[in-house]
Symmetry: C3
């Protein structure tokens, strides 16, 4: 199944509009090209709607948000909703500042996202503001482990039910869920956290995958997570003793470039709960 999903990305070559941070933007562009998609980066409000319209999917990332770009995110998101284009949201750093947290809440309020992808702490921040629960800290651990995986999966499903978006939570174990089904994914390597932007890159790639597979956003988002994790594994195998996080960054993008749909199918490590 994941092989067909990835095949569609390569066949359709979706153009993805990215309003994203300036830290990892180059890597996001290169990983989109690596997986077979095409990136456009454009964050000015004067062109946000135009660019959204010429693309087929949208990726919003608040990593270096400012008042100018937040307005563009809102306009682009609403435009994408009108055009029925998939929209991915990466709430980078939600919880770290009032601006980020409030912006994330506002975006959730005004835009219907197809996928929300973040780490557990960001997703918990979103959940806390969405009114789905009280006492998040008590209810959901700070880390997804084998011990709390079932509980975590239920939590993520509940947030998906509330938002109508597929929720993609990445960490040592990744959970990608809609309201009724959770993919628990065990691809990846711990060294990925020593590179800036593997999360941002995954969000961009997720936008490509769901855009090329509009009927299966859950499976497409899960496939993107598996692809990124698998690339992290392949790239890790390639490291020489002198290589570090900078070469690892290049090798991960290279691995996506060389990954075939069949390899993704074979290498994806997941179970459904």
């Amino acid at each position: 199944m994941f092989s067909d999903i990835f095949e569609n990305v390569k066949k359709i070559c979706p153009i993805i509009h990215n309003i994203t941070n300036y830290v990892t933007v180059n890597d996001c562009a290169n990983i989109l090209l690596a997986c077979g998609a095409s990136p456009i980066m454009a964050d000015d409000i004067e062109e946000a709607a135009d660019i959204t319209a010429v693309c087929s999917g949208l990726n919003i990332n608040i990593g270096t948000l400012n008042s100018r770009t937040v307005s563009s995110m809102k306009l682009a998101g609403k435009t994408a909703n009108k055009l029925k284009h998939p929209v991915v949201f990466d709430p980078v750093g939600a919880g770290a500042s009032k601006l980020r947290t409030q912006t994330a809440f506002d975006l959730l309020e005004e835009i219907q996202f197809t996928v929300i992808r973040g780490n557990i702490s960001e997703i918990k921040t979103l959940i806390s503001g969405s009114g789905t629960t009280k006492g998040v800290d008590a209810d959901m651990a700070d880390k997804v482990t084998e011990a709390n995986l079932d509980d975590a999966a239920e939590f993520v499903k509940a947030f998906s039910a509330k938002t109508g978006a597929v929720i993609s939570v990445t960490g040592a174990i990744d959970i990608v869920a809609d309201a009724s089904k959770a993919y628990c994914i065990r691809n990846g390597h711990p060294m990925m956290s020593s590179i800036t932007g593997t999360g941002c890159q995954l969000s961009a790639m997720t936008a490509a995958f769901v855009t090329a597979n509009p009927e299966q956003p859950l499976e497409a988002a899960a496939a993107a997570v598996c692809a990124m994790g698998l690339a992290g594994e392949i790239a890790y195998q390639r490291l020489t003793p002198m290589d570090g996080n900078s070469s690892y960054r290049n090798y991960i993008i290279d691995a996506i470039y060389n990954l075939t749909p069949a390899q993704l199918e074979k290498g994806a490590k997941y179970e459904v709960r």
Copy 2:
């Protein structure tokens, strides 16, 4: 001839002011250093004229334009014109949004460019607005091929005559032309399009080449195109089975770093029409 042109870059080490997009800016800076030039990136209107004045060439790229930076581009461009510094224009995405197209037209109106470098679609957008022709789409194909090369070269020459700028159109076959002479260049490799920013990098390097060779903007722009294409060929040879577009990006900049004027002379594949 191209060897002398490249030699001048290495001898003069021109400092190039870049107002460029945040996606590929790091690669632009590194390729300028690789070819022997020096980059300064500065996009605030409060310093645009000052920085243009301490540099000897200017590179304007609208890849992630916004209202703040467009004003800086205009001021920097006019300052460079007054100081008789070469100015290169890269109309990234002209045609993709009204803002980009209109900004490109405005810049063409207000600034005398030394070189305009873009892909065929961007250049066609500029031509359509410059009043040189009607029915661009009918007159000029979307791709330069052996079959339409003569027609395309005439088209590019006509646009050069209209604008007074050398026009550098890159694609499978590149055309670099002034009003009377067109270099048709066959360096490069298709995989270059799987990296973000090879065009941006070429524009930056073109600025270095024309700045170091102010009497020969046509030849300098053609030499830059050959250098970039040759670097793409050399870097491609170096790829191992695990390498992908991210390593390829590094190898291209590395190839420019190691390219000698003699190698450029020998490796340049062009004819004049």
Copy 3:
């Protein structure tokens, strides 16, 4: 001693708030991760104080300053001062435009820096405006050499006494000094100047080192300079004939990733004057 300082970085994993330029920001983030620290990039005034507060150190770099980000730098700097967080200042391009020079003076006036790190030309610009001296050009050479090293060290000490900051001047010979003691450092390789952003990366890493070693800012800043230089030496050894400045950039970050405290201790080449 440098081994303990570096050990502290790895033990404490300080989170560093960076308001820095968009040219080299990705490399700054990756080198912070490589040395064991954690980066946050945030430049909007609405969140600058919040982010400073959740971090333990601040790195201000004016490489692509604009009016929006300068306000954020000031607010973040004052917040860090109030919270007694170390603050590093990289006055990129001070002297190249009135805006940069004036902004640098303003920041010096309003913020108490822990370390100021720049090249000799930038530091001379700061000194000229700080009232410590007349005729800087006559008094301090444009390049630190063996012949003028004693004079240069005295100059740097005097500027440290005036500002209360450790001054870190990098070049062929680096000088890191407080009012009474100057580390003269001979690590590094000339090829480092062919990469954009080794200075920016060093400033980011300096912030991590002083944040993890708040009682020894002088030694911590000197250790960071030695680490960066040593990484430049190790990475240079690794270069193959086809490698150039782009691979060298990756190898330097890789070398920081693999550098151990013991190797830093052993490889640091300095004397105290």
